[in-house]
């Protein structure tokens, strides 16, 4: 581990006002900064996939290990399993899954929503900063489109982004009609804040509890509707019919310790992200269930993935105290004007550049010895919350109550002392390839939300994820409910897992590893224990 400035000394520097708070010169060579310091470019972390639809493409090695792994179950596990039948199976109880279930149920479809933990235990409930929608008079959907494309380094799919930005205002209206509150000015207009790397204030929010507010409302709406919810019910495999069409899933009920077969006309995958795989040894901001299960299950069934070598490391995860490592401090704090300072007290990057650049710059400061080191060996830089509060008295309490609450628990007053921050594994930029309705390349299988890919290219801007989950969740829910009147499937099998074993053997890959992962290993829990 590289040298740095001890936390106590750095605090003294800070309080003495050492260093320069002037905006540092513009980064001239962003590509070089990213290549040298962004974790996506770490040497030896990428491998070439040897099986499946993305064979021959580059992928992070930890993800590759579970994409090219054997199934958790075989036919013998299914003997005597309980069987349920429904029109539509939604997998995952975050925002995307709930939006899909609500839309489909409103169209009269019978819906089962199956989720690994409880309904709402998800990344959605944790979102802080807000949700994008171009609603201000100087802003346009076209500007939103361009910002999204540019921040993703022009790798996003234009058709998907066009759908996203044009749906934005309607999504906000839908959420309000479901009972979600947003912060308003005294005349009732929605307040907006600016996301890093964008050209206009466009993020609407509910203090720094946007995700909590959204999830509470969606959960209550689902619970009050006709959808049947199965909790503590992780999906461990998908089912196919006689022609390779997705036809349901196998669930392992944690409460009953038994397998459940759900036969469905179509399936919407909404299992969220990957943070709990702790790629490259990073801490994560993600909830406990974010283990890339959806990617694994869809890939196995033949769905193409996109941009699976690109992940978002959010610049400001907490780095002190150690028990909180990885916990997110919203970009909203920088958007409101808080600066980042290194151990010498100098600013080192425009804090509102896009996230991958800010992250790379923080990692550069730490690598070159200007970072701050704690007694426990954690590293980071300062997020200058005291100056923000001094220049805007009361702003922390008005806009960031969650930050203050967090401070209380770890005995740090963000108004009096800067917060130590370090990048945290935050978001899966790519995912399952989809079209404007969330359809994947496998018939009958949809993917929505963080598990899907194509919108964010290689870098996501704040607020586009919450917009995506509602926009595409509803689209897929609507599309899938069109199919409920056709003829049902004849066969329901896990045949494809046998082909998988064959393919793995042929490629000389290990059959030791089983996936999906379901839970991080530090939880000491496996379904076959």
């Amino acid at each position: 581990m590289s040298e740095g400035i001890p936390r106590k000394m750095a605090l003294q520097n800070y309080f003495k006002g050492k260093g320069s708070r002037a905006l540092p010169p513009e980064e001239v060579d962003i590509a070089n900064l990213l290549e040298e310091y962004h974790p996506d470019y770490y040497e030896d972390t990428l491998v070439t996939l040897q099986t499946g639809p993305n064979k021959g493409e580059r992928c992070h090695k930890d993800l590759a290990a579970i994409l090219q792994a054997d199934a958790l179950i075989d036919d013998t596990d299914l003997a005597g399993a309980f069987v349920h039948e429904t029109d539509l199976l939604v997998i995952g109880g975050g925002g995307a899954g709930c939006a899909a279930a609500l839309a489909a149920a409103e169209n009269g479809a019978r819906v089962i929503l199956s989720t690994k933990l409880r309904l709402g235990d998800s990344n959605t409930v944790m979102a802080e900063g807000g949700i994008q929608a171009s609603i201000e008079s100087g802003d346009t959907p076209m500007m939103h489109y361009e910002d999204t494309l540019k921040s993703g380094h022009f790798r996003g799919e234009s058709r998907l982004i066009a759908a996203l930005v044009m749906d934005g205002p309607e999504v906000i209206r839908w959420l309000i009609q479901k009972g979600m509150q947003f912060d308003q000015n005294p005349f009732g207009d929605l307040l907006t804040r600016r996301a890093g790397g964008t050209s206009h204030d466009r993020v609407v929010y509910c203090r720094d509890y946007t995700g909590l507010e959204m999830m509470r409302v969606l959960r209550e709406a689902v619970r009050n509707g006709k959808t049947e919810v199965l909790e503590y019910s992780p999906v461990v495999e998908l089912l196919t019919n006689e022609t390779g069409h997705c036809a349901g899933a196998v669930i392992f009920s944690l409460d009953r310790a038994a397998y459940l077969l759900i036969k469905a006309r179509s399936v919407i995958m909404a299992t969220g992200g990957i943070g709990r795989l702790h790629l490259n040894g990073f801490p994560t901001s993600n909830h406990f269930g974010a283990t890339a299960d959806g990617l694994v299950l869809a890939y196995r069934l033949g769905a193409r993935l996109k941009d699976i070598d690109s992940f978002q490391y959010h610049p400001t995860g907490m780095a002190y105290p150690a028990s909180m490592a990885g916990s997110l401090i919203t970009e909203g704090v920088r958007s409101a004007g808080a600066h980042l300072l290194n151990g010498l007290g100098n600013r080192f990057i425009d804090e509102l550049k896009q996230r991958d650049c800010v992250t790379a710059a923080i990692l550069r400061e730490c690598a070159e010895g200007r970072g701050i080191v704690t007694d426990g060996g954690n590293r980071g830089v300062w997020l200058d919350t005291p100056t923000l509060e001094r220049e805007n008295p009361g702003i922390l309490e008005r806009r960031f109550p969650k930050l203050l609450q967090r401070g209380k628990i770890c005995n740090i007053d963000p108004a009096g002392e800067p917060m130590l921050v370090y990048p945290t594994l935050h978001y899966q930029n790519g995912g399952v390839e989809i079209d404007e309705n969330g359809s994947t390349t496998v018939p009958g299988l949809y993917a929505v939300g963080e598990v899907s890919g194509g919108i964010h290219g290689r870098n996501r801007i704040m607020g586009n994820a919450l917009l995506e989950i509602i926009c595409f969740g509803r689209r897929a829910g609507n599309k899938a409910s069109e199919t409920i009147h056709g003829r049902g499937h004849k066969k329901f099998t896990i045949e494809h897992t046998k082909n998988l074993s064959r393919e793995l053997t042929n490629a000389g890959l290990s059959m030791e590893i089983k996936s999906p992962t379901l839970f991080p290993d530090y939880a000491n829990f496996g379904i076959k224990q």
Binding site: R173, I176, Q181, G289, P401
Partner: protein, 206 residues
Amino acid sequence: MGDRDITVNINGKDITVPATMSAIQAVWHAGHPRVHGVGCLEGVCGACKVFVRRAGRSIITTELGCQTMVEDGMQIIFLVFPTPNHHTYQLDDFKNSWDTQAQFHQIFPEAAHCRHCGGCTKSCPVEIDVEHGVNLATEGKFREAGELFLECVMCGLCLTSCPEEITPNHVGLFCRRITAYFHIRPSNLINRLEEIRKGEYRIVEG
């Protein structure tokens, strides 16, 4: 804050762990399996309810296990139980905001029977004045009541401690939802929706 080891009792088992851990981290560190009652790990999902008794103290508090740092001699019990709600309603059934108060009392008839026992407020791990919120709702002050529940993580502890089966957290959420449903009408959003409806914006792809 050092890496001093301490001993805590979790679900009846003594475990020795570094003092810098949360209750959930401590269980895992000791090698015990735990997935029930774990969610966001950040204090917002309400999955990780625990009873806590600190060394030398007789009172038991209810807290969130991911936000509770272990201390020497602490006793912790994980509370994993469902918190069923027995009220249902559809916002779409509310046609006129003048009738909200009457409809509220039809949906939540128990709310008016609050005994002011304070049980809900005492049990709330995020220190919401739950009882006051319920009473404001009963008086029809929905916007004010809802605001009190901004930080509610829906853990359901208030619900399980209410002798009148009032489900205070769902009352609070109702107040927030009905306020949005009837009263959030932002002109900036509505203008933009109108412009889009008239076809004033197109995306030029490429």
